[in-house]
Amino acid sequence: MTDPTERQLRELFAADAARAPHPGGLAALTLHRVRHRRRVRTTAATGLIAAVLVTGGSAVVWGPLGSSSFPAAAPTGVGELPGGATEDCSSGYSSARLAAELTQEGAFALDGTVTAIELGADPGPGRPSRYASVTFRVHTWYHGGSGGTVEVLLGPPDVTSQTSDVRSYGIGTRLLVSGQVAETAKVSDAPTTEDVAHFGFSCGSTRYYDDATAAEWAAVAAGEAPAGALPATRAASCPEYSPALVGERDFALDGTVTGIGEQRFPRLPGETESDGYYSVTFEVHTWYLGGTGGTVTLHMEELPYLPTPEGGSVETYGVGTRLLVSGVVSEIEGRGLIGQGCGYTRYHDEQTAAEWTAATD
């Protein structure tokens, strides 16, 4: 039988253990310590840093310090940064989505190179961290920030495939990052003790750097009108967009939004929920195909707002937005014209308007 002293010891130790610090970023901190010691040792011997970090069977070679203190082969890629699989990414990336996101309070967008990564808190055995605290050397602040460095909470640098140990990003990776400064109290395992932090958006709003996208971000941040397809606000299957295929729609128009109603189509017998289409009225400037009259009310597949992973929403179009809309006549009698997503409804620009004119002649 356990005597009182032994019982007291168990209770005391258990109580102390419950107050132990959180192990957030333990692996990253440990590796930082290992690397730091290696750098100090190697620098003293040769004046160069040539430490080899072996992680999970792969080797990352660190080149000489100087103009570039990053690994010779920093992880890189094209387009959307992988990860964030826990988020609903059905909405995808577009410059219009970025423009909408940057209207949020605390939004930021930058071009930067990763200089340090600290993994987030341990959410339990077998479960990956949700966040890594990533330090960037900032080349350009497009929106909402200043200074030469910033720490951003991103999804961890996951391994990109089962056949490779290459991480989605690492020290030296150049990224275009957009996100929002938000309270950390909403995130239980954020690897920071600050009250607020820079949270990077997922779902394509953080991307590998390329010149074209960087120029696009600069244009968006400069307040230029959004261009391209309406951001996809729901998962949908549809034919890939091309201007030529607009000619195969039932209707196509150039119009300005004058009113947005509620979800137009209520449940039918046997349906469990409404289809969620929004009733949107347009002042029509041009009918390219399939209609007449100065105004029309369409049923839009794409919502006029974009849900964000953080639980909020941003407007994607509203009264005054000029759109090029094409779509089909509903197969259900009385449901009118459906403005399709998937690229078949786009922000107006002269070049696309000319393409639609040509496609529907």
């Binding site: 002293t5 209770e11 130790f13 253990a17 610090p21 290992v34 961290s129």
Partner: protein, 164 residues
């Protein structure tokens, strides 16, 4: 198993053990990182061990005892009690008894306190404690026995002294 996977699974229990051993969150973090850094440097050996967690725990315990030896000339027992430990965490008598026990533990030799932590917090048997500390099982039993006897007798003496 990668190093990161190991830390994801064992980082928390190691940090908790370090905190119970040191009573100081900064020391605990430093101690845990030291042990894990050693594990990282010898990762092949750790991964190949029959029980990698026990292997790293031994590294942590050894580092702790090594630190204690180096710091013993300047450290006061009171420093073992971390300011972050909430004194209002328990009801009156139990809290008082717990604080008394904490004080008594702080007065024990580092090896004796470590044996008690491994036995009553980590729930290790004498063989595992001996393995973690690099001593014989009989040494573990003797150390634990003396430590417990010391705690009991001191507690009794203090209780008598405090009696009206």
């Amino acid at each position: 198993m990668t190093f990161e996977e190991f830390v994801a699974a064992q980082g928390r229990p190691l940090l908790r053990l370090a905190f119970v051993l040191t009573g100081d969150r900064h020391l605990a973090e430093d101690l845990t990182q030291t042990a894990l850094a050693d594990a990282y440097r010898h990762w092949r050996k750790v991964r190949a061990a029959a029980d990698p967690a026990a292997y790293v725990r031994r590294m942590l315990v050894n580092a702790h005892l090594s630190w204690r030896r180096r710091r013993s000339s300047t450290e006061r027992p009171a420093e073992l009690v971390d300011a972050s430990i909430d004194p209002a965490a328990g009801p009156g008598d139990a809290l008082e008894a717990r604080e008394q026990m904490r004080t008594l533990l702080a007065g024990l030799a580092p090896r004796a306190r470590t044996v008690l932590v491994l036995r009553y917090y980590a729930d290790l048997d004498d063989a595992a404690i001996a393995e973690a500390m690099g001593v014989s099982q009989s040494a573990v039993r003797a150390t634990a026995s003396r430590a417990l006897a010391g705690l009991r007798s001191t507690a009794v003496v203090e209780a008598v002294q405090e009696a009206p």
